[in-house]
Symmetry: C2
Subunit: 163 residues, 2 copies
């Protein structure tokens, strides 16, 4: 973009020491996997995966959303959500139905089992909180920093699309 040339000298990184940006990427990658592993034994008894649990959390906040609305909140498209929602329905947690006033849309609503799961989530939340071993402030800071990072990354991607 700029016509500067003289900032190209990060060329070689001392052996045994990754560049910081690579470290960050790997740290996010590893943390995501570690969280997944931590959730797994807590969710297995309910037959839920972590992404399915996230969808339920979203519905606990606001029930009766469309697939599209869920996708916007979670950053997922129908290619991921459609089969996931079918499994959640098969497991009895949600119900899917075409919107009568716009038959293109599918409304996703919690079943009794889906609502009941919210109470079970209290224990899960407590265990995850314990496992992170973070103070409330640390949790807040880290969350805010990650949200800011995600925002900047997505903003950059959107800009690239425009070009």
């Amino acid at each position: 973009m700029t016509d500067k040339r003289d900032e190209a000298e990060t060329d070689d990184i001392p052996a045994g020491m990754l560049a910081l940006d690579q470290q960050l990427c790997f740290a996010v990658y590893s943390a995501a996997h570690a969280l997944n592993r931590t959730y797994k034994p807590l969710l297995d008894p309910y037959g839920l995966t972590y992404p399915q649990y996230i969808v339920l959390m979203t519905l606990w906040e606001e029930d009766g959303r469309t697939v599209k609305a869920l996708g916007m909140t979670l950053g997922l498209d129908s290619g991921t959500l459609s089969p996931l929602l079918k499994r959640l329905e098969a497991a009895g947690y949600i119900h899917r139905a075409r919107d009568r006033s716009d038959e293109r849309q599918v409304l996703v609503t919690l079943t009794g089992k889906g609502h009941a799961m919210k109470r079970e989530a209290v224990g899960i939340r407590r265990q995850i909180g314990k496992a992170t071993g973070c103070s409330l402030e640390a949790l807040q800071t880290l969350t805010a920093d990650l949200q800011a990072l995600t925002g900047r990354l997505d903003a950059g991607a959107a800009q690239d699309d425009a070009a």
Copy 2:
């Protein structure tokens, strides 16, 4: 574990506001996806996925590792690595060969193309750095916090295994 009862009142979270620990989990989840999306257009021209790129980075640090050693570093098992490495070999980036002194092990080494990719990585690294939009200090703090989090999560999981 403790016999206290009087800390069970996080039961209900105000509507429209997720508990902080859930926010953190979702923030990590979203950041990982955002990073993946950012890497994708940069790696596509080379026919590489982000996990494959991570494996290459690991080999740039120390070539000639076993599958097991790679797995320890990356937190992945052979179920993930075996097919991934086969694809990296098919793409010409690495070579796989049984260790002559212990035929159970497979040694993974970079090809010329695999080594050459390290130079291409300089540009990718710069673009990712720009996309994160972080100061060096912010990058360092965030990385360290995430590494600490991952460490605590994995330590907890290891403890559970022992029980």
